[in-house]
């Protein structure tokens, strides 16, 4: 049996044999507003339930906004962050030039400076690795990186990012908004991950996942998050 990490969406975990393969990289993609970020929140919330460490690279919202949005689903991350179990790298604040004080678990970078992003990820991995060899990581969303950098550079950065996380033992998801880059780059993006999950607003498709055939199911976004119907 391949070790699985719960996605945080119970009905999905039932569908895919317990969760996402441990120490793998999953791409969650689809059109805008299909629930990609909510997928990430589920994944983070499960880390809190399972008392695991997480590394969260956010490009479109800051920590306060994440906390607020997740609170709408009744998922509380405040204490989890204060316990230094959540490592945040925020490039959204960096993009607008907001100056914020950094700490060991709360770092700021800029979306157009991938060298610095990877450097800060490595700093975080150094501290995470001291504590645990099993953790979760989330990148929401690569779409912003694509809009600030040449697409081929982003693919290179994601390769480096994936390699670092896997070596350190992470189970990761990254999100991407369908159609933002041309199909050739999309193909490269898909080739650089292990599992692919597509959301279209109504239907979830497991396009690729180790040990599974392609799966389709309908889903709904409710006050409790994503529910497979």
């Amino acid at each position: 049996m391949m070790p699985k990490i719960k996605s945080g969406i119970e009905s999905l975990d039932q569908l895919i044999g317990g969760g996402l393969p441990e120490n793998s990289m999953t791409l969650v993609y689809g059109p805008p507003k299909c629930g990609k970020s909510i997928f990430c929140y589920h994944f983070l919330n499960q880390a809190i339930i399972d008392d695991e460490t997480s590394l969260y690279l956010m490009t479109d919202y800051n920590l306060a906004q994440l906390e607020e949005t997740m609170m709408n689903f009744n998922w509380m991350i405040h204490e989890y962050f204060l316990n230094e179990q959540l490592y945040v790298l925020d490039t959204a604040s960096g993009a607008i030039g907001a100056t914020q004080k950094e700490s060991d678990t709360h770092k700021i970078s800029s979306p157009q400076n991938p060298t610095e992003i990877i450097s800060k990820i490595i700093e975080d991995l150094q501290s995470i690795y001291q504590k645990t060899h099993q953790f979760r990581s989330i990148l929401d969303s690569t779409t912003t990186l694509f809009s600030y950098n040449s697409p081929i550079l982003v693919i290179r950065v994601l390769k480096s990012y994936t390699m670092r996380l896997k070596l350190a033992g992470g189970t990761s998801i990254i999100t991407y908004t369908e159609g933002v880059v041309d199909s050739q780059i999309e193909t490269l993006l898909k080739a650089s991950v292990d599992n692919i999950v597509h959301l279209d607003g109504n239907e979830i498709t497991i396009e690729a996942m180790m040990g599974l055939d392609k799966i389709n199911a309908d889903y709904d976004i409710t006050d409790n998050g994503i529910i497979i119907l």
Binding site: G94, A95, G97, T99, S110, Q112, N113, P114, T115, E116, I118, S119, I121, I122, L125, Q126, Y129, Q130, H133, Y148, N149, S150, I152, L153, R156, V157, K159, S160, R164, L167, A168, G169
Partner: protein, 392 residues
């Protein structure tokens, strides 16, 4: 000669960089070559009253200002005095107001604008950040051609042009061509096992003076910038495995804190401390006591170390469990390590193959047969660990 003001680098370059020469900082992803570039121009403008410019396509000038501030370098004064200026090739793309004598809103215009900037700083310094962004925006061929042209102009104008380059997964052939265009290449890389935990620079190429391939560990400190770091090597292992003898065999000047134990032979109750200079590599050695009441010392020492020798007594398989326990305890699994199978001069010593089997170690763990008493196998152990540390 112009100094770089990077510690050790000027010594390695035999004083600094001659006028008009080009340099490339070739950094593995995750290493910040920009600090090197900023430090060079910051110190030169302050100490040597030089002129120069920073071309940027990754950080806005405002962000660069904050980085200077973090390291305690004055950017405001030379900026206001016109000693330094920006060539801003990022703000327009970010949608923020550009700051700089020159603004590039289209990469295609880079060639001529940078040529003008080079003329403006004749005899001074040019920092180009970041070559990777150029390559992925205008293509490899065009970028290489631009660098060739800029280097020519810089050489004519006696400008020291410094390229900062993050080496993502580019083809070796392209990188080789890039390197062939510059007078000097400084490689920045990380020492890593599962995570990167130490940074090293090495001068791989210099068209003036000889290169020694000397590896310098560094850390970046706020404030103050690039600082040299003297790495530590850890020597650990079970009680009476011969750690102290091993430390003295690799570091002739080693000092030990010992006292007569209840047993008939002296045992270490403090630390064995020494220094090793071996094949251009320099490190401090720390040997720990083996008794479990000293386990508290292990973790902080291991955290500071870049590699570990686990010394075991090859004649005492009953101590192997303790050796494995110590490996785990000192988190040596996250740093490169070799097992030193000591006391190979004794008749009942197990062979490395037998030890590997008994300890149930992974295939890639190296076990080096050694006799610390007879000083045999010492160089093999050093070679094995240094090879692992510098495996890049």
């Amino acid at each position: 000669m112009k100094k770089t003001y990077i510690p050790r680098l000027d010594d390695i370059l035999q004083g600094g960089v001659p006028l008009g020469k080009s340099m490339l900082f070739n950094a593995m992803p995750g290493l910040m070559s920009d600090v090197f570039g900023y430090q060079i121009i910051a110190e030169r403008t302050q100490i040597d009253k030089e002129i120069g410019f920073i071309y940027t396509n990754t950080r806005t000038p405002a962000e660069i200002g904050r980085v200077f501030e973090k390291y305690g370098w004055d950017l405001k004064t030379p900026l206001e005095a016109g000693q330094i200026f920006f060539v801003d090739s990022i703000s327009s793309m970010m949608g923020v107001p550009p700051i700089g004598k020159y603004v590039i809103d289209d990469f295609e215009k880079s060639r001529d604008i940078i040529l003008s900037a080079i003329e403006d700083v004749a005899g001074g310094t040019a920092i180009i950040e970041n070559v990777a962004t150029l390559i992925d925006s205008i293509g490899e061929e065009k970028t290489l051609e631009l660098i060739r042209i800029w280097n020519e102009a810089a050489s004519e104008q006696n400008v020291n042009i410094v390229y900062l380059f993050t080496r993502w997964n580019y083809e070796d052939q392209m990188v080789d061509r890039l390197i062939s265009l510059v007078n000097c290449e400084v490689k920045l890389f990380g020492i890593e096992e599962k995570v990167m935990y130490r940074q090293v620079f090495v001068v791989v190429k210099s068209s003036w003076g000889k290169t020694t391939e000397c590896k310098t560990f560094f850390e970046v400190i706020e404030p103050s910038g690039v600082k040299v770091f003297i790495p530590k090597l850890l020597v650990t292992g079970p009680y009476n495995a011969g750690k102290t003898t091993f430390v003295h065999a690799i570091a002739q000047d080693a000092v030990s804190v010992e006292r007569q134990a209840f047993e008939m032979f002296p045992t270490t109750v403090g630390l064995d401390i020494g220094h090793v200079d071996y094949k251009g590599f320099s490190a401090d050695i720390f040997g720990t006591p083996g008794q479990d009441r000293f386990d508290l010392l292990l973790e902080p020492l291991a955290r500071e170390s870049i590699g570990a020798f686990i010394v075991i007594d090859s004649t005492k398989p009953e101590t192997f469990t303790r050796a494995k326990e110590m490996i785990n305890m000192c988190r040596a699994e996250a740093i490169p390590k070799v097992i030193v199978a000591n006391k190979q001069d004794l008749e009942d010593a197990l062979t490395p193959t037998e030890i590997k089997k008994r300890m149930a170690l992974g295939e890639n763990v190296q076990i080096i047969p050694v006799s610390a008493d007879e000083k045999r196998g010492i160089d093999n152990a050093l070679d094995a660990l240094f090879d692992m540390i510098y495996r890049v």
